[in-house]
Symmetry: D2
Subunit: 335 residues, 4 copies
């Protein structure tokens, strides 16, 4: 049976793709992959602007293989992203469903994070509408995949920025507190901290204690280190924000000249790393093939460098835990 | 029993580390990790310059935690690397052994590739000398680890260079053949090719055939693409080098204006990516801990993002195969 | 008199812009500037695809301020570039003129190099058609401006690549010959060579002699340097290409292990530096304002960080000479 | 008369170099150049750690051509930098003088900014000690040179960060306020703003008024732009800091979702651009040659791409004004 025969037998003849929630590098590469895979299987494809909100408002366009030329290397998302209050209402979801029906869309690929998938699960339950999720968030806080789209790029962005900060820190014998993204998950802080050779790393998963940090910084100075970097996750457990932490240390360790740098939103942008581009390409292919195979309510992801799929609900409820081995490595490195 | 008691009971009181074979980004981060882990376990550490050759010539220095300050982000290797003819002779290896004994070194960490590990296995058999390998090569052609040190960085370097080449290719509607490293393994070509959105990828593992490439390029032009990138591995199977390939296409597809770019040795240098720095830190810790635990003849590596160890001989003889799924993804992406 | 009144009195009501010859980073920023300046002065603007060849073939589109959103940071040229044989014929230029008239274009901005300006001067003489040139080429080989568009970016690209090469060169104690662009002008080689700390720099403007280079490399090795970089301009005067040079040195200085790297077309691409983006913005404004003021046959350029204009013919015939002071600096630095 | 004869006739037989004030990329390249130029002229050279403070404390080391191998590309300063309260006292300067005499130093090269030069002028008056300044600061706020060391690099760092921020800004239709460095001078804000295609630029030299900014942002949104970047200098004249500005706009333009990013100290670090490395090399040569020629109290600098020297006092008192042409270009670009 040829690809063409199969095509006419398929139930899924048109797939729509959206990006939802916080944007992440690699989202464009994933859009490109979904669109090209649809083209390969001679399935129509549409793009939905601004996530669920755009879907509710009927903001869709047809996408062909050529529409996604030259976007694999671009940060951001050509489909834009948004958070949608309306989609949290039954009424909003009804409108979204009508919008899909009106455009003859048979299945949905959602590129986003936890919140976006939760919306997708509810939508699928209410309307029995086929949906596959692609994990896209720099925070890497999703269960069911070793890496989310954008995480690897964000790590490189953070490490390159901290490398620059270390130049000036060591020229002036200063202590820098550098805040990186990650409200509920310390993946970025822990990995970027180890990658940047930080003297201390503060993450939401562990409360290492302020006293312990002071001790460690004292020891570091005694051992002859003239400058230090402390990487702090947005959501660390000390109960102090990064500026309060800096003040606290300056008061208690007057021998240190302390500065603060908040890396901020630049961590969300930039051209994706090779890893994120390849991951996006692979996950996009898998998402479309699963839908064409009649599957739904799955999240595609990576495990041991293989593409796998997980039940979408499990992915939402599951925990993606910090590797304690890396905490230990971090300790040893700052001997 | 305290760390100190254990220390005096240990057989391994001094560890030496070397980098051997072709250099790779992340080697300095691995040296730093070995040195710092030794310091953490109050074990002495020495660095050997220029791999086995330097060992034979007695070119060793003591390394302390402070000697490796501020090197985690540096390309190349502060211990320098070399290939050693002398180490292939029994006489050379005898001298190497004497050099280790003279310096009271009890165990060896070798950061390098296949060739370096083969030397290590022979050395271990002859002198029963404890040895652990850390896989460091941009080619990723080592069994027993999903990633070798430097591979991720080399991919980013290649993709960034090809992004630049695409700028000029598409301005002039040209076809570029870009040669990347990888004499026996197509990992770089395949991943950088997918990451850079290449229209064709030629790798040593597969002979896709020249006719097929011509057909594909013809199709690509017909579909309206005005520029194209073909990524070629150094050792591809077509029997033609990259310049001959370019000539062949220019003769057969006169509608294309063809150019060649050989990325070359810049792929071996540059500041390591966050991934490579973290990997290096983790593998260095594991290498030292295995030696202190009395283990030998192992290679540390990564599997499913966990640090594992493999028998060194198996790592050498094993095959690290290209993932055929990615070949398929590449095909679909260039629809 | 308001901006609007002036507008109706002007002779120049529509300006067309093209990029011609080899592409260079910053060309998109210059297109954007020309288009936005036209919008500011309420003058219509068109873009011509593929330089003079596209003009002959009537390949023009209207451009508005919004058409050039989000291109300031992009390498290459959205208008594409080409070399045109047809424009060298009287017949071709006649067609080009008719194409401009048909589209009601009153004046032309040509972003390109020497060759493109020569065509423009002839065209102006034949048809008395207002034309202003913006110097865009990575080679910096145009008289009447201290910097051409793309030159600063190409220098950074070359230096970053050589930094990576030095990592591996010094790990292996090797001598690298690195060829950079610049067929007739050594600006890139000289500046990138000094910037990368090269031990030797070979440029078309000076024949330093092979013997002198051998002597210098011998001295460098004796002084304890274990690795060396020689930066060679495409068009250096030794009469040997970079591979022949490498062979020659390897024969005469067997103590060196020699490698070659040709940086190639990646030097033409990439996101423009801040300098090139600002320069492009300034030159685009000036080009349009000169045309609106009734001026023609000028090239806009930079002198002492001020925007100036030069007679286009003088710019073509003039010489942009290498600064001999920098040759001297290069000598002193490699002491 | 040979170089050697001249050497013995010279009064200046040993030169010391320091970096002082805020560090800037290119300072290491300038140190290297001073050291190598001394070596070329067979003049001894010493490095002073931590600027005037280190001088007072006698923290000097001999530097040879080899001590400065492989530092041209490094951010920060290997000599470290500091601000010195002690040097503001007569007693401190006396100690500094004694420190120089004790080390047989005959002349001083100070790499730094306004404050460092002011100290140098006083010191020269009191002790008649030969001194030459090299302008090194990312702010470009020094008269007598078109470019200070580090300024070009800081511009590229800022623009690359804003490019990343624009990715996420345009994905979410947000307005970002991005604060860049420059307390008293708007050079970075103005140039990085134009280079990054910012919709508004707020600098200390001009108070454009909050009302005008609101109007401009309203117009921008009406014209269909969905995201905007406002670049703000640390020291802008609105009387509000960047967070207050953001709040003000959010209150008055509720249609905008506003975010703030403070780029901070990463602008001081990073590998210098080719421009800064070449500039550093040229200024270092000139500084040493001027001292050897018996000159003093000068600052070396760049004018029309030529190396010049200015009276040090004039350099301090002079104004380096923002180019109003660029303000106009900025206005036109945001049409």
């Amino acid at each position: 049976m040829s690809k063409f025969d199969i095509r006419f037998m398929r139930k899924i003849k048109k797939i729509a793709v959206m990006t939802s929630g916080g944007d992440a590098p690699g989202m464009n590469a994933a859009i490109r992959s979904v669109v090209r895979t649809c083209a390969y299987y001679r399935t129509d494809c549409m793009g939905i602007y601004r996530g669920y909100q755009g879907l509710i408002e009927g903001d869709l366009i047809p996408l062909t293989a050529r529409s996604v030329n030259n976007i694999i290397h671009k940060g951001g998302t050509i489909l834009k992203s948004a958070r949608s209050k309306d989609f949290r209402t039954k009424e909003g979801r009804q409108k979204a469903y009508e919008s899909l029906k009106k455009n003859n869309v048979d299945a949905l690929v959602v590129i986003g994070g936890d919140g976006s998938f939760t919306g997708g699960v509810i939508f699928n339950k209410e309307f029995n509408f086929p949906i596959i999720g692609i994990p896209g968030t720099i925070d890497n806080d999703i269960s069911g995949t070793s890496h989310t789209l954008g995480y690897d790029t964000a790590l490189n962005t953070a490490v390159e920025a901290i490398d620059k900060i270390r130049d000036t820190a060591s020229s002036h014998n200063r202590l820098f507190f550098v805040e990186v993204m990650g409200r509920d998950a310390g993946f970025i802080a822990l990995n970027a901290g180890v990658g940047a050779g930080a003297e201390e790393i503060l993450i939401p998963e562990e409360d290492l204690g302020l006293e312990r940090m002071l001790e460690s910084l004292k020891k570091s100075r005694r051992s002859g280190k003239s400058s230090s970097i402390v990487v702090v996750s947005e959501g660390d457990k000390t109960g102090k924000n990064v500026f309060e932490l800096a003040d606290y240390v300056e008061e208690n360790l007057p021998e240190y000249e302390v500065r603060v740098s908040v890396l901020g939103h630049m961590q969300r942008g930039g051209s994706p790393s090779c890893f994120d581009r390849v991951l996006a390409s692979r996950l996009g292919v898998s998402a479309v093939e699963l839908l064409l195979d009649g599957k739904t309510n799955l999240m595609v992801g990576l495990k041991d460098n293989k593409v796998i799929s997980t039940d979408l609900e499990k992915a939402i409820k599951g925990q993606h835990n910090i590797d304690t081995e890396l905490l230990r490595v971090s300790d040893i490195m700052t001997t």
